[in-house]
Symmetry: none
Subunit: 217 residues, 4 copies
């Protein structure tokens, strides 16, 4: 849907990363935001630091000055995403239905470029062992939080199977976000909230809220 942009020098994204002028903090943040979008959209290898710098409107050297390297910038993106996920989930979890609602919201709003989950789409290794470890850990922590809301507690063998179920739920969400955003597959790409809420609710409930109900049918 959006052009893939191997083409040199087009740069279709540099739109709204405005900087006020000479404030390092602002520039850093703008760089991270632009980078996250590029990384999520085009992948680590295909993204060039020149693109990112040009998106923000600064010189390439600033990236190395602030983040040391392309990998450093990537890790900064990961960390920022982790932070956002953390604060987003610091809200009290009232119940499993609450969590399910959030999952659905994530999917529905995913074409929104700023959704931090987009970064998680980088399921393919970046070549940077460190960043890959961060990503793996983040996904696993997300899994545990989900499983916890469904009743899993550490070390309780009776609830161990909920970990796998939570991860399947997460996989569903990730897969759909992927199809909707980068791949642009129909009908997922243009499905509305109404189209998705119903079936997604069934899936998440059968996995997390009412395990075994389907087979009981």
């Amino acid at each position: 849907m959006q052009a893939p942009s191997e083409s040199p020098g087009t740069g279709e994204q540099q739109a709204d990363e405005v900087r006020s002028g000479r404030d390092a903090t602002v520039t850093r943040r703008a760089l991270v935001r632009a980078a996250r979008r590029r990384f999520a959209t085009d992948g680590y290898r295909a993204t060039t630091v020149r693109q990112i710098a040009s998106d923000v409107g600064v010189n390439v050297a600033l990236i190395n000055r602030y983040f040391g390297s392309k990998e450093g910038l990537f890790e900064a993106c990961m960390n920022r995403t982790v932070d956002e996920l953390d604060t987003a989930n610091r809200a009290p979890v009232v119940g499993i239905d609450d969590v399910i609602g959030r999952l659905i919201t994530h999917v529905v709003e995913s074409p929104n470029a700023d959704d931090p989950l987009q970064l998680l789409l980088l399921l393919r290794s970046s070549g940077d062992e460190n960043a890959d470890r961060i990503r793996r850990r983040t996904l696993e922590s997300f899994t545990r939080r989900l499983a916890g809301a469904a009743g899993w507690s550490t070390g309780d063998p009776g609830t161990e199977h909920l970990l796998v179920r939570a991860q399947i739920a997460m996989a569903t969400m990730l897969g759909l976000v992927m199809l909707r955003t980068s791949t642009g597959v129909q009908p997922a790409a243009s499905a509305t909230s109404d189209d998705l809420t119903g079936p997604l609710g069934e899936v998440f409930r059968v996995l997390l809220a009412d395990p075994g109900s389907a087979s009981r049918a």
Copy 2:
């Protein structure tokens, strides 16, 4: 200390792509197979044509001779994947349970690198507009086949919602395959057939076989 480069055996994958000597057709096929594995494992950008040529044991220039360019080779990989999926699905679809079983099998066996579906996982694989279109079309055709098995028929408004449901099922499968293969997230990466069959069956059934059952509960 000296120049490293060309020596065969740098990569870890060049194992079984043996060539029988000087048969152009055989070499072509071997190149496509090796390329697909590399592309699926490392991504388009991170894969170098030298790796692929070295895996097969031929000169790099052959790739350009046979396929014109790296992109040409990638498209050949996509087309081959489409072909294999087609012939694999030419078998008569006896029922929805049959299809669900196949989906589960895909997920369970996904760590085996030769699954043709893996190539479809590449988020924005190449920047090659053509290959992207092929992948999109393949995924949509896969969706329709799945929906068809669940009762969807072209142009029947009453079954239109099954398309979205089928695509959610596909997303679940793709997401899980990703987690299991490239990301290596636990517990998905090491989950056994027994761990997965149950919950996956519930999800796929609630989506395709028994729509609405969960909400009826």
Copy 3:
């Protein structure tokens, strides 16, 4: 993981270049001293102005403010070295044995980084034509002073050969200083005063004090 760069303490040398606060003259001198050490130790190209500024604890921009450019700073170092050599040699030259003793002392104490001769070690230090001329002139003046102590007088053809002999003596000194300091070759690097005084004395005497004695043997 984050940007490394600027933190003071990266290098190993920033030790005793303390500044007393905000005195331009003091800062200038501290910069020259730190720079000379870096240039002598690491070479012109390998030395970065950021290192030097960090050694002294001031902002990088000051170097350009005070010296115009990196080359300007280098020339300031050269000039300072020339000055120090001049004042050091303003002491009356009592005799050739005195001079020989000083040469030996230079070699023996050369591992002490502050010996201004180290700067002369920079073979083709900067690519700065101006600095190169300064160095060449300094070395030639040093040669003449040495030859003068051995009996050479300007324009006297009968003592002209003493210039070459003096320069050979200087070359011996420079070569040894190099081996002892930057190259770290054994046994020169760890040779003591006792090890060196004897043979060096013979060499310098045969060159400057008693020309032809060896061949007379």
Copy 4:
């Protein structure tokens, strides 16, 4: 005497490195020769691989293809120099006078750019720990060979002092070669064989052939 060549794009040296056309061995050798000259003249850091490639008339990428990196090329230069020194010294050593004659020849012919000793002038560290070790080892081995010709034998405490004496002789040679070639100091730079042979002979003899003679005088 030759311009130092920070200036971009001049390249005063690319003269006689002619290649026949498409022979890798020839090209490799030409690269090593050109590189050695540049490294010896300008130093490791100041030499750019673009210059070297341009001297030979090939593309820069070839350097990385053949030698892996700039450091690899530098090490190849070192190794080649070591080889040449080895074969040059494989000739039977008839006596100490023979060796002394060779030392003098080295100095006299040093302005000749192809003298392998020029590389040893890089007494300043290249930043490559490996190359530095090779260089140190080469210098020490050279010292031992020289000392051996003067009567030193491993483990004999009575001849141990000859090691230092041999190294002083080497330092004299290196220092003079340096002054004659890269620094261009007068009168060393333009001294003829007649000017040098006499005094150098005295120095080397007093160090190696007749230790103590001068002090006996």
